[in-house]
């Protein structure tokens, strides 16, 4: 049986599309028979990436966000791409608790959550051109991180 699949979605950078985007990915990933926890992980990571594009990528303007998702075997890849301002210093942006917009009560944990909840995270960005976030997760691994009593070390 062919166990690959692909989807592309384009939507405006409006905050009500945050729930739209994560719900679409969750429905797309449902064919992989994920656990509720795995699905929650993907939804959280997608929500963080889309929110970043809306708040930091486009700010007060409305632009288009493209979301692509691929399934290959037990691995799902999700890409969130915007044509917004881009990130000047990616490693600084990815530091836990760092936020460029403290006045918005951003917790600075968006990238930390994407890293913690997905197996792989890549960020490509060019200042003035836009940002692409690529995340991968393998479904069906035993023992999701963080559901045990131990606390994670790589996250604050």
């Amino acid at each position: 049986m062919d166990n690959t699949n692909k989807m592309v979605l384009e939507f405006e950078s409006k905050s009500q599309n945050e729930s739209f985007a994560r719900t679409v990915v969750a429905a797309f990933a449902a064919t992989m028979d994920p656990t509720i926890e795995e699905l929650a992980d993907i939804k959280t990571a997608v929500s963080e990436a889309v929110t970043n594009s809306i708040i930091h990528g486009y700010g007060d303007c409305i632009g288009m966000i493209t979301m692509r998702s691929f399934i290959s075997g037990n691995e799902i890849t999700v890409e969130i791409e915007d044509s917004g301002t881009g990130i000047q210093d990616i490693s600084k942006a990815m530091e836990p608790l760092y936020t460029s917009r403290p006045e918005l009560e951003r917790s600075g944990m968006g990238f930390s959550f994407m890293e913690a909840f997905m197996d792989d995270l890549e960020v490509e960005s060019e200042f003035g051109k836009g940002t692409l976030v690529r995340m991968k997760k393998r479904i069906g691994k035993q023992l999701a991180k963080g559901y045990t009593q131990q606390t994670e070390q790589n996250v604050v």
Binding site: E18, S19, T44, S47, L104, R106, G110, F113, E152
Partner: protein, 128 residues
């Protein structure tokens, strides 16, 4: 039983109530009826802050029984309210969190500054 004042908006179009607010003594109960993301955080923050300022609120309880999802924007909402009540000796509690929301709280370290309770009633009895 519910002698507190209730505030809330109703969205009839979806047949779903938005977040509702209730004040009992100096405790503000925020009943989330939607996913706590950046989109909803903006409205909850404004409404909650108005109620906190006008009603001399000391403690805040977030009731998650109607909400099964939260992302880092929710952390921002809770941290922001924490900063408002901590100076007057107040505290923040969360009630009825599911495993996904619980995980977010655990990974973010928020349980160091907030308490988790089974229900709003339990939280209320502890916060008096």
């Amino acid at each position: 039983m519910h002698e507190g004042k209730s505030y809330g908006k109703e969205d009839k179009r979806l047949g779903k109530e938005g977040t509702s607010y209730e004040i009992r003594q100096r405790c503000l109960i925020i009943r989330l009826n939607d996913e706590l993301d950046h989109h909803n955080a903006v409205q909850i923050r404004e409404k909650a802050d108005r109620l906190i300022e006008r009603n001399n609120i000391k403690h805040i309880i977030f009731d998650f029984s109607g909400s099964g999802f939260m992302d880092s924007a929710g952390i921002g909402v809770i941290m922001g309210r924490y900063k408002k009540v901590i100076f007057i000796g107040g505290s923040i509690a969360v009630a009825s969190v599911n495993s996904a929301v619980d995980r977010i709280f655990r990974l973010s370290g928020l349980y160091k500054i907030i308490n988790k309770y089974d229900s709003v009633e339990t939280a209320l009895s502890q916060l008096k």
